[in-house]
Subunit: 281 residues, 2 copies
């Protein structure tokens, strides 16, 4: 595995491999089992796997959150190497986001609600940097985790709208043994908070089972989930949203496949999770 530190050397190295199928796994580092699962599938499906590590300053609202975002390149390098990654692309923040960067990529409707409303500018930051990474690496396939559901919708819209000729693969959320979705931010949870956070998964599972048993009313499901979540005093609710799985517009009933999005705060950590609910099964 080669570690590549600049845009130019990434472009130079990849231009020699132009006939090969490149898979890109964009990450912000602090790699965990969720990222590794993406790398494994990329390894199986592509000739060359590039993992980018870039803590994107544009997608952070508060600079405090950016500052404390976990970074451990040595550990990341070991993990990526063990997965057979070919190139670890670790560009400098000042090269990807130079002071005179004036161009932004923004996505409208699907980026407006939910996380977009809670974190103004977040998805513009994501779309801009993902577009840049796509243009630098020119992958045939790019891999994202379903955990950041709205992000996958925004990236898909951007990819289609701008005519990026690549395939997106969205892979299932990897979870801790208590059901908590793997996230680099989980390391900031205390033992007690980690235990409380498991309620998110229980809530998603409850919704799934209720729908399987025939429940279709989102208002009813929402009420139930709300009381599950608020029964944990450490958990502060941001939103519970039942939405169309592609447009993210709210829906009232579980007809066909919809997505349930949940966002909470536990201590200083924000947690998001989601599940697809299928009213037809």
């Amino acid at each position: 595995m080669k570690t590549i530190l600049s845009i130019q050397s990434m472009q130079r190295v990849l231009s020699k491999q132009s006939s090969l199928k490149i898979g890109l796994v964009p990450t912000m580092g602090a790699l965990h089992e969720g990222h590794l699962s993406l790398m494994r599938v990329a390894k199986r499906e592509c000739d060359i796997v590039v993992v980018s590590i870039f803590v994107n300053p544009l997608q952070f609202g508060e600079s405090a959150d950016l500052k404390r975002y976990p970074r451990d390149l040595t550990a990341d390098r070991k993990m990526a190497q063990a997965e057979g990654v070919d190139f670890l692309f670790v560009p400098k923040a000042t090269e990807i986001v130079p002071q005179d960067l004036e161009t932004k990529v923004s996505v409208d409707k699907v980026a407006k609600r939910w996380e977009g409303a809670m974190r103004p500018g977040h998805f513009q930051g994501v779309a801009t940097i993902v577009a840049k990474l796509f243009l630098i690496v020119k992958p045939a396939v790019a891999y994202f985790g379903q955990k950041d559901y709205q992000q996958t919708v925004v990236v898909r819209k951007m990819t289609n709208d701008l005519n990026f000729n690549l395939k997106l693969r969205i892979l299932p959320t990897v979870r801790e043994s208590n059901g908590l979705a793997k996230s680099s931010r989980n390391q900031f949870l205390s033992e007690k908070e980690r235990a409380s956070s498991a309620v998110l998964y229980r809530a998603l599972q409850y919704a799934k089972q209720a729908v399987q048993k025939g429940e279709r009313e989102c208002a009813f499901l929402k009420k139930q989930i709300e009381s599950m979540l608020t029964s944990e005093s450490a958990v502060h609710l941001d939103y519970i949203a039942f939405c169309h799985k592609d447009t993210l517009e709210p829906v009232l009933q579980v007809t066909r496949k919809i997505v349930l999005l949940i966002a909470v705060r536990v201590g200083k950590v924000r947690l998001i999770d989601n599940i697809i609910l299928d009213g037809k099964c």
Copy 2:
């Protein structure tokens, strides 16, 4: 020459030529000698020349201007063929700008002043469509005329900021015999208006000569040019701007190379033109 009518067939045809150097000349059709000069250079410098014809609805403010924009595909096709163009890419408006297009590319500072201020949304429309064309055609070189000077600055910023790995070639403005810059909109000028419009070129030439003779004060030059332009009663002034050639910020003196931008209205036609002034020569 093949005429290609859809994004997918353009991508399919070009994917077979991936080892060749592709030159792209993006146009809005109604081809004239200015466009043809770009094609000629592209033909000399590249293995494959793609000319796109797309009247971009996003870059028009008033729908009246969009509606009356000249279109003549038969004539365009003949001219492009005569220049040895390989592919004429003429996608449908509904394919490039579908109703659910939610992604926009915007450039900040260099797109704010001058044309950006006169035509809100114009450069966002340009940047979005040029980005899409770059992603569809994947040119090694893209050709633009210097006549739309601010457009070349905006496209260059977007190209660099988003890490498009391509070269921009900006070629000199081609002019009518009276000095009027070639433009598809010139056909809307009456004989009399066309004669009046020649004052733009005279003004640019006056500035060039004054600078060659040692004049450095933009305020003085501006006053002179203003009185030249307003001496033609058919000419209504939008702006006269002396600017840094890359940032387009106003400058007070002609030190090194700067750009002089002029925009006027003559009857219902808006005309823009520019010249580089070199305070060092």
